[in-house]
């Protein structure tokens, strides 16, 4: 009996310990080891995949670039305004993220239009206005065909391409990709599923804590 009690107490302690250690989000994408010499000793460091520098026009026809995302975490996706399949569902879910972080200056949302011909800034502005969102929090961006499809494939690892056999001519995945302040990929969530988006918001809290970005 005595031992049993001891055992139970030990388990309790163990439980308490494991609760205390906050799990960190994984770092996704490619990585490469590099050897560095620090204080005369060789140390192996890891270089993680980061988002390549970019510059696009947002819905106000203002250039926004990777500089505007410095010291911020952000969520990004690929869509187009005429899309009537997964995009409305994604952006209905993204609205929840927008509402949650509306007043948090450390969080941004970046939506790339893959309809480079049709979605000029004025179209994106009309879309954003009808959705009821502010430019400095949620940017809808227009870029050249190459820049948008390259950043999707190489930086964010999201499939997006033009396909003549598709009814609307454009195909893309519905991922919401979470990027940290060092421009590293920290999560990818199915933006068409409300429970995945809820999970993402929980992960965003973890990331904000890890980055020491408290509100204000």
């Amino acid at each position: 009996m005595k031992y049993l009690l001891l055992f139970a107490t030990a388990i309790c302690f163990l439980q308490a310990c494991s609760n205390k250690t906050e799990s960190k989000l994984p770092i996704l994408g490619e990585r490469a080891p590099v050897e560095k010499i620090v204080d005369g000793k060789t140390v192996v460091d890891t270089i993680y995949q980061t988002i390549a520098p970019f510059a696009y026009l947002n819905q106000d026809s203002v250039v926004i670039s990777d500089k505007d995302f410095e010291n911020k975490i952000y969520v990004t996706d690929f869509f187009f305004t005429a899309c009537n399949t997964i995009c409305p569902v994604m952006h209905r879910n993204m609205m929840e993220v927008y509402k949650q972080y509306k007043d948090n200056p450390h969080v941004k949302i970046l939506s790339h239009s893959i309809d480079v011909k049709y979605d000029v800034p004025s179209r994106l502005k009309a879309y954003a206005d009808k959705l009821g969102v502010e430019s400095d929090k949620w940017a809808f961006v227009h870029g050249s065909r190459d820049s948008i499809f390259n950043v999707a494939a190489k930086s964010y690892l999201v499939a997006a391409y033009e396909d003549a056999s598709d009814k609307q001519g454009l195909v893309h995945q519905g991922w919401f990709v979470l990027v940290d302040t060092k421009k590293r990929l920290r999560g990818a969530y199915d933006g068409t599923k409300p429970d995945q988006v809820k999970l993402m918001m929980a992960d965003m809290e973890k990331l904000l804590k890890e980055e020491n970005l408290n509100e204000k």
């Binding site: 005429a82 009537n84 399949t85 997964i86 409305p88 569902v89 209905r92 609205m95 009808k130």
Partner: protein, 129 residues
Amino acid sequence: MRNRIIYILMTITAGAALFQSCSSEQQLDYQRYFVNGKGIYEKNCQNCHGANGEGLGKLYPPLTDTLSLTKNKPALACIIRNGRNEMPANPALAEIDIAQVIVYITNSFGNKQGFYDQERVKGDMEGCK
């Protein structure tokens, strides 16, 4: 005298039975339309208009305004078939499909407008521009 009473009673019973079966048949039709309409809605409408007919901001209108649905009911079939503004046309939907989805929409999301059959849709479609 007694025969007469029995006769009247029987007539009433028969009438009631007939009425019952009629209304239950319409009830059945309504349910069939509603269930099929739900499937059609989920496949063709839900992405934009939402699972609860809530729409999306000012991009896609909600389907919860029962007054506006009543007022525009004769136009619904045309809008569904031919599209309007951002809304794409649905040439693949037959009149029966349109009737079913109208029954689903006008009896969900807080709407309660009853049955709307295929014949009415046919009539509405003649007025399409």
